[in-house]
């Protein structure tokens, strides 16, 4: 078995939630989510219907900071406007799976992408939620992922509810004209799942080397801990090969796991590689 890093494990676990039913809308260029969609489409879910930029339906593509949009364009089966299609996808229950992340997340399935502190005098003004507020409520599955599982991110109650799952159990979702499906949270420590109105999140699995106690300690909201918590399934050799050689050879996913001042340096090195490939392509055309 090939050695792997935790971000690769997370990509594979998010990918496992992507299926052939319904549409996935790709919003912000979030490499972890994007690579999960591409991996799913290249393996177990070839019919997964991806919508991103103005490509409505597309082939899987290689991730890069400068080329993702162009690759989506090239593999598109339809090119359309944002409002026209996203509106219909979100509002008429075509949405299947979309993976989101946020500054804070709580046990009710609420995300905060608005403010840390008070709304009117924020300590940190966050970017805002774009479509996330509607997506996490309306989509069949809510997938959330966090590169740093700690009590600052997975909190008891978010400072501000930008959006929320709203109805969680299958009966209450159906009664509200929403497709039933779980909330799945994939972090660098564990996988948490909730699909019941009353019961809290439960630990579905812990990653290798992590104990359930560590997960409970790093989580600000209540968790149900089963007697036997399995270890998260390791990526297969084939998944790792596709991720490293085809989907993300530039290492865009790892970028989100680099912190502090190394971060910009890492980004610069990825951009260097992207620049060089284009430069070599131009040089190859010259006589």
């Amino acid at each position: 078995m090939t050695d792997y890093e935790v971000h690769e494990l997370m990509v594979c676990r998010v990918a496992a939630e992507v299926d052939d039913e319904g549409v996935t809308v790709m919003g912000s260029f979030t490499p972890l989510a994007y690579s999960a969609y591409m991996l799913a489409k290249m393996t177990h879910a070839p019919e997964a219907f991806l919508v991103g930029f103005d490509a409505v339906g597309m082939e899987p593509f290689q991730l890069s900071f400068t080329g993702a949009e162009a690759a989506a364009y090239k593999g598109a089966v339809c090119r359309w406007g944002m409002l026209t299609e996203i509106n219909s996808i979100h509002l008429s229950n075509h949405g299947g799976v979309e993976a989101v992340s946020s500054a804070q997340f709580d046990g009710d399935g609420a995300i905060n992408l608005s403010v840390i502190g008070s709304f009117d005098a924020p300590k940190v003004r966050l970017p805002g939620g774009a479509g996330a507020a509607e997506v996490i409520k309306m989509y069949r599955k809510m997938i959330a992922y966090f590169g740093k599982h700690d009590v600052r991110t997975l909190v008891k109650k978010v400072d501000f509810v930008t959006g929320t799952r709203w109805k969680i159990g299958p009966e209450s979702r159906e009664a509200a004209n929403l497709l039933p499906g779980p909330i799945v949270v994939v972090t660098n420590l564990a996988v948490l799942v909730r699909d019941h109105d009353e019961r809290p999140f439960r630990i579905e699995s812990v990653h290798p080397g992590v104990t359930p106690e560590q997960v409970v300690e790093a989580t600000g909201f209540e968790l149900e801990v089963p007697d036997d918590v399995p270890v998260t399934a390791a990526p297969t050799d084939e998944q790792l090969r596709l991720l490293r050689e085809q989907i993300d050879p530039f290492g865009t996913v790892k970028f989100d796991f680099v912190s502090g001042k190394d971060r910009l340096q890492y980004l610069a090195s990825v951009l260097d590689a992207e620049w060089r490939r284009a430069e070599e392509s131009i040089a190859a055309r010259r006589p």
């Binding site: 290249m42 090119r79 944002m82 509106n87 507020a133 951009l271």
Partner: protein, 301 residues
């Protein structure tokens, strides 16, 4: 004889007044009307009410240049390059007035205006704290037929929309090939529409590609030729995101150098700007980044 709506980039200042509400097209790092944004800075526009679905460098630059009095948005982000520094600073420390919408809320508000409706109803965003903060925008209503509880969003009417197209004829029949994002719905909602485009072409070229016309001329008031007009954001399939300029921007915006950064934009012409950022083969490279972008094969194909 059709109407000729072509004006120079310098006319942006005549079409957008201080205090106007201005919807900016594009989304994330795609296709923002950056040449027009730079022109708004050159002419020193103030107190604009800027509207964006997902803004990035367009919004952050205008805020940093002191051009914005109010911001309506569902997201403002520099993505990999971090939180938008001027947007943050202006809200956290300078009290910039803003209205935060949910993404669909703002889109549906534009759609309502485009249909001449005072509001449109939809399902959601139930559970979000945003509607309670903005009772003048979001309201709860009942379906007159079933009694179901719905959210009404008030129509959004920008004074001006500025969008960047691939090409347009002189009359304003504008075409997109890649990302048009929210451009069409902003244009339909706005009182006045400025189309900047990579190239102004003869009507025959529009007719040949009629399926790509997304904005017919009756919506359009002014057409401006602005090659590389979305740079440093992308205009696929012509050129990709200029990530290196974004890096420079993000570093400048978070530091004391930002005043000098804005001053350079204010004092150089669009032609000088292009010479600076696209010279030395950089323009060709930004186009090549589109060419080398790679589609992957699914298994069994």
């Amino acid at each position: 004889m059709s109407v000729d709506k072509v004006v120079p980039l310098g006319a942006v200042g005549d079409l957008v007044h201080d205090g106007a509400s201005v919807a900016l097209g594009g989304g994330w790092f795609s296709n923002h009307p950056m040449a027009a944004v730079r022109e708004l800075i050159r002419v020193g526009r103030r107190n604009l009410h800027v509207m964006t679905i997902v803004g990035s460098v367009d919004v952050d630059l205008l805020v940093g240049a002191g051009a914005v009095g109010h911001l309506s948005f569902s997201m403002v982000t520099l993505e990999a390059f971090g939180l938008a520094p001027n947007f943050r600073r202006a809200i956290e420390h300078e009290g910039l007035a803003y209205t935060e919408y949910t993404g669909l809320g703002l889109l549906i508000g534009l759609e309502a205006q485009g249909r001449g409706m005072p509001f449109l109803p939809y399902r959601g965003p139930f559970g979000s704290d945003l509607p309670a903060h903005y009772p003048d925008i979001y309201a709860t209503i009942q379906c007159p037929f079933t009694g179901e509880e719905l959210t009404a969003v008030r129509a959004v009417k920008p004074d001006v929309a500025i969008v960047h197209a691939l090409r347009s004829d002189a009359e304003g029949n504008a075409q997109w090939d890649g990302t048009s994002g929210p451009d069409i719905d902003m244009a339909k909602a706005a009182g006045r529409v400025i189309v900047t485009c990579e190239k102004v072409v003869d009507r025959s070229e529009i007719v040949e590609n009629a399926h790509m016309t997304k904005l017919p001329s009756y919506y359009v008031d002014a057409v401006i030729e602005a090659p590389f007009g979305a740079n440093p954001t992308s205009h696929v399939p012509v050129y990709a995101l200029d990530a290196w300029q974004m890096m420079e921007y993000a570093q400048a915006a978070g530091s004391d150098e930002f005043g000098a950064y804005v001053e350079r934009i204010r004092t150089e012409s669009e032609q000088q700007y292009q010479g600076r950022v696209l010279g030395d083969g950089r323009g060709e490279l930004l186009a090549e980044l589109v060419a080398v972008a790679r589609v992957l094969e699914r298994q069994g194909q």
